[in-house]
């Protein structure tokens, strides 16, 4: 009963209206930060992952171990490291990135990288080695070989990208620390959810969680569509 009273009480409605009006920029910023981080991680991670699978380097096992360990890195630890780096008293303080989306993108790129590299590597390793030989025999350059193998492994590669996106769009530890959850500037969906929870607005926090889930659904749908387009 009291719950219902609260839901229909004026302050709650006002608060919800207020929250709804500030929702579009929050959603856009979430997409912007995680989207750019995903692009950066993909651009860096795909060639690295494929390269590691196609041409093992000295110390390969150790590197792989590091990458797998990186998949389990808590976002808040990455956030802390990025904070120390970007702090005015840190080595990269001159960039003035702390508490800006740039800092959040940096942190999320680092979180996403091991996922992209590791899963791409696994996907490429599963491709029949005969294909590589065949393509090479046809006179393909190393880049073309990599392209062919990645194409063959596209389902796994897409899974790598989707997993990385899921990891960063939903993380809160790093963006809270290096972004600061500043209203209208660095507040994203996950930090807004923490804020509403802290203030006791559980219903609103849950609703925001629903928005986040919807966003992830649509993004993944588009990513998979893109993957299928690329596969044709």
């Amino acid at each position: 009963m009291e719950r219902i009273d609260r839901l229909t009480s004026v302050p709650f409605v006002e608060e919800t209206a207020l929250m709804l009006s500030s929702l579009p920029p929050i959603v856009l910023l979430s997409l912007y930060v995680s989207g750019l981080a995903l692009i950066s991680a993909t651009v860096i991670g795909l060639p690295l992952g494929a390269g590691l699978a196609l041409r093992p380097v000295p110390g390969q096992r150790f590197i792989v171990l590091l990458i797998y360990t990186g998949m389990g890195l808590p976002p808040v630890v990455v956030g802390l490291a990025v904070y120390m780096l970007l702090s005015r008293s840190g080595p990269l303080g001159g960039l003035n990135w702390l508490f800006t989306p740039a800092a959040m993108i940096t942190a999320q790129t680092i979180i996403a990288l091991p996922l992209v590299i590791g899963l791409t590597m696994t996907a490429v390793e599963a491709v029949d080695p005969a294909l590589r030989l065949q393509v090479r025999a046809l006179g393909a350059t190393p880049a073309q070989v990599m392209g062919a193998v990645l194409h063959e492994a596209r389902t796994g590669v897409m899974a790598a990208i989707v997993a990385a996106f899921g990891g960063i769009i939903s993380e809160v530890g790093a963006v809270m620390l290096v972004g600061g959850n500043i209203a209208g500037k660095t507040r994203v969906l996950t930090t807004a959810i923490v804020l509403e929870t802290r203030q006791g607005d559980f219903e609103l926090a849950l609703a925001l969680g629903g928005v986040l889930l919807g966003l992830a659904f649509v993004s993944n749908f588009l990513l998979l569509r893109l993957g299928r387009l690329a596969g044709r």
Binding site: E2, R6, S9, P11, P25, L28, L29, L31, Y32, G35, L36, I39, T42, V43, S87, R88, S89, G90, G93, N96, L98, F99, P101, Q144, G147, A148, L150, H151, R154, G180, N181, I182, A183, G184, K185, T197, R198, Q199, G200, F202, L226, L229, A230, G231, R232
Partner: protein, 298 residues
């Protein structure tokens, strides 16, 4: 094969363009004559109470500034200041603030306002503390009854105050005390815990009042219904403001930070602090206490 490369790269470029367009609209909602930015590190209590939303627009309009509020625990807020990552800090932990000045991170600390702490707990009140005059007595009774107690456990100003109360009883809470729960969370979460677990806790009055509707089983047991009724003066909770020293941290916006300190301690703004919350809670959430205010209201 080539087609894959083209499709993926063109799609990525299109996505990047789209996102950077989104980002621009998201990052700069108002693009007027480039306001200066002031970074304020403060506690969750000032932000969650809604006070900052109510008073900061005045400052932003007056000085064509944009205030970025980073609301964290007192410990983290001071840490941000001591690394030069905030221009001004507004917190409530007197000892830590004095240390901040002593360490040279700020030249001076100024009184801004105060509110008070209260001891809240379950209606059933198993430790029978309702009506006690001091928090110290109440804490003693809670311990004697081994009644469930929720602590912020996050080095916040409230947590520091709570630990000093235990220390006055010569007690250092440890994990062995089954009735004592150090949560490591904010005031809101701690009050929610108290409500669910029928636990006692120390809360600032503002956060309790703001969340009262969500806390049907938690009542005020020590501290009365308003700050005036609070008989335990050791429960007063003063807030101080400090501009981070540019000699130590050259990157800070000292000019604007100084203006902020002057502004928030001015009689006019202090009155606004005093008025905030009266309509909603029937009492102020914060009581002004700057030197200028005291001079004007002896």
């Amino acid at each position: 094969m080539r087609r894959l490369g083209y499709t993926v790269s063109s799609a990525l470029i299109a996505l990047a363009l789209l996102l950077s367009a989104c980002g621009q609209s998201a990052a700069s909602p108002t693009a007027t004559s480039a306001p200066q930015t002031l970074r304020l590190a403060t506690t969750t209590s000032t932000d969650d109470s809604g006070l900052l939303d109510a008073i900061l627009p005045d400052f932003e309009a007056k000085y064509n500034a944009k205030v970025d509020v980073v609301a964290v625990g007192t410990g983290q807020a001071l840490e941000l200041g001591s690394k030069g990552d905030a221009d001004v800090v507004l917190v409530h932990s007197r000892k830590a603030e004095d240390q901040f000045v002593a360490d040279g991170h700020a030249k001076e600390r100024f009184d801004v306002m105060y509110n008070d702490f209260i001891v809240v707990g379950p209606k059933e009140d198993p430790a029978r503390i309702a009506g006690m005059t001091t928090a110290k007595d109440a804490f003693k009774a809670i311990m004697d009854a081994q009644a469930t107690f929720a602590s912020r456990g996050d080095k916040s100003g409230t947590n520091t105050k709570e630990l000093s109360l235990w220390a006055s009883l010569n007690i250092t809470p440890t994990a062995e005390m089954k009735w004592y729960n150090a949560l490591g969370q904010g005031m809101g979460e701690t009050l929610t815990f108290a409500n669910e677990q029928e636990a006692y806790t120390l809360s600032d009055r503002g956060t309790y009042l703001a969340q009262k509707d969500n806390l049907p089983d938690v009542v005020i047991l020590v501290g009365g219904n308003s700050l005036e009724e609070n008989k335990d003066k050791s429960l007063l909770n003063p807030y101080g403001v400090m501009a981070v020293d540019p000699d130590k941290h050259p990157g800070v916006n000292f000019d604007l930070a100084t203006k902020f300190v002057e502004w928030i301690t001015s009689v006019e703004e202090q009155q606004k602090i005093f008025d905030y919350g009266k309509d909603k809670f029937g009492q102020p959430l914060f009581y002004p206490s700057s030197a200028a205010w005291k001079a004007a209201h002896p």
